[in-house]
Subunit: 293 residues, 2 copies
DNA sequence: GTTCCGCATGAATCGATAG
DNA sequence: ACTATCGATTCATGCGGAA
């Protein structure tokens, strides 16, 4: 089995990305710091400066991505003075000017959204997963994410009576033995552009707002084994660990030393050459990391 | 009981709206023809002309809406040459320049989305429900749309086994009859900004792309009895009939004579004064319409 | 009367074919 | 070349006819 590499960098993505080769990455999945959020770790980008801050980074990402690759950007605009901010829309418009294609917008429905009550709005329980591409033709392995018929994460939502449900279940059971080909044909369906996932419940100190299923789904969909996945805002490293487990090489960048050190610890020290901004082309490798959840 | 009025107009919204009084409407709920869609019934607005086409209408809607009122716009951008179009985003930006506040974006998750398979994308199963307001303070009756715990329109999305579902269902059923007060206390939660509804399928000839639950939910949330609801693209009149049933006055406009005549028929002829563009202030009233589904 | 199965039908999108 | 039309693909839902 080939060796799977996991490279991590400490520093500002805007700078670090410049050291990466052009047309070298198959998939970028990331959840950048949101405007005015996570001030303690990221300095807190002002909403009105957000586009200006992100564009140099997306410019480098475009260079680094393979022509067949995909960029998945997880983002959601915050509410400012009772109104949804427009910086995400403005960002999309500007990124198109940079040369990105805005191929699709997936919805991540967060089943257990952050609690709270306000007089003028309900809880926000969805986020955008913006898909950008460099070319109109790109790699997509749709069969890898097919789901049971009419069923995504066990959410059938059908108005079946209880007896109907029982009947259906037993039918599947019996039919499966007797007429496999029929059921194999009708068993799986392609998913849609709405993903139903819970946010990761964080017992640990450093929580990823990102559930592992999210990068996992996109890694399945847009890469194959030994491809290269990049997360320019790796945070606690969810994307990297998932990529590693799925036999994809990965590259992670973060400006926060705390995150960097934490991931460094989880990648077995004796086997890696840790990266500092100065020695950019060194490689790290890690042993297989066992599933966390 | 007070008399509930339902006024319908045949003509172009851009013109008809001018005849309505300023600050007179409590809620606007509408689903305008999408770009290049419904060519047979509407003209089929070109994607690149969409913003230009809609802005004069939204300008009048802003005038007509009460300061405490809300505008809900159901829309979704289409794919053009492999890319999501940007006209919806551009429309939001332009409407803000007109003076609208873009308060919120609800997601309508369509369980039964249009089928199909393509090499580069999955089925599109969500639409935008954009909430605009005239002022930052507006009427919102959140308690009216509280839902059974963890349940909105039977769309649980929870990781329940079938036996769990059966248990839960029977629990709600029995509890409701026997121990109402208990259930009132524990049973209700505020919803989120993600709505799970199926599209209404076949009502014979004229199918509403809009399920009744959609206007119903927003009418509950943003109006009280005897308020006025406006739908400037009434189509088959779903919004109006729902408003009527819920004891809200309503005003509907459509440019299609076929739709106009159809609704005219369903509003009992002997009791109404049908409206043509010339006699704009006449009133119609209809008998209670029974649920269709 | 139920319950069950077959079937038509969509706010879709792509790629090929035709003017 | 560039644009309009058409067939193929696909699946949740509700209807109608049948057991």
């Amino acid at each position: 089995m080939r060796e799977i590499k996991t490279d991590i960098f400490l520093g500002d993505s805007k700078d670090i990305l410049k050291s990466l080769k052009s047309n070298s990455v198959d998939l970028i999945v990331t959840s950048p710091p949101y405007a005015d959020q996570r001030k303690s770790t990221y300095g807190g980008i002002k909403a009105e400066k957000y586009v200006e801050w992100f564009l140099p980074i997306s410019h480098e990402l475009l260079r680094v991505l393979k022509p067949t690759g995909t960029f998945i950007l997880n983002i959601k605009e915050k509410v400012i003075e009772g109104e949804r901010s427009t910086y995400v829309m403005e960002l999309i418009l500007e990124m198109r000017k940079q040369g990105w294609y805005w191929t699709e917008e997936f919805i991540w429905h967060k089943k257990n959204s952050y609690p709270g009550k306000w007089p003028n709005r309900f809880r926000d329980s969805w986020e955008r997963l913006l898909q950008f591409n460099k070319e109109k033709k790109f790699n997509m392995y749709q069969e890898e994410v097919m789901v049971p018929m009419g069923d995504w994460a066990k959410s059938r939502l059908k108005n079946l009576s209880d007896t109907d449900k029982i009947r259906d279940t037993s039918k599947v059971g019996s039919g499966f033995g007797k007429n496999i080909s029929n059921w194999l044909l009708r068993d799986k369906a392609y998913p849609t552009n709405v993903l139903h996932l819970a946010t990761e419940c964080n017992n640990k100190k450093h929580s990823a707002a990102f559930p592992e299923e999210l990068p996992e789904w996109f890694i399945k969909l847009f890469t194959k084994e030994n491809d290269i996945v990049l997360d320019p805002f790796m945070g606690s490293g969810t994307t990297l660990f998932v990529a590693k487990r799925m036999m994809r090489h990965s590259i992670g960048i973060d400006i926060t030393k705390e995150y960097f050190d934490m991931i460094k610890k989880q990648i077995k020290p004796s086997e890696i050459y840790l990266l500092e901004p100065k020695n950019l082309y060194a490689k790290t490798k890690s042993k297989k990391r066992y599933a966390v959840r």
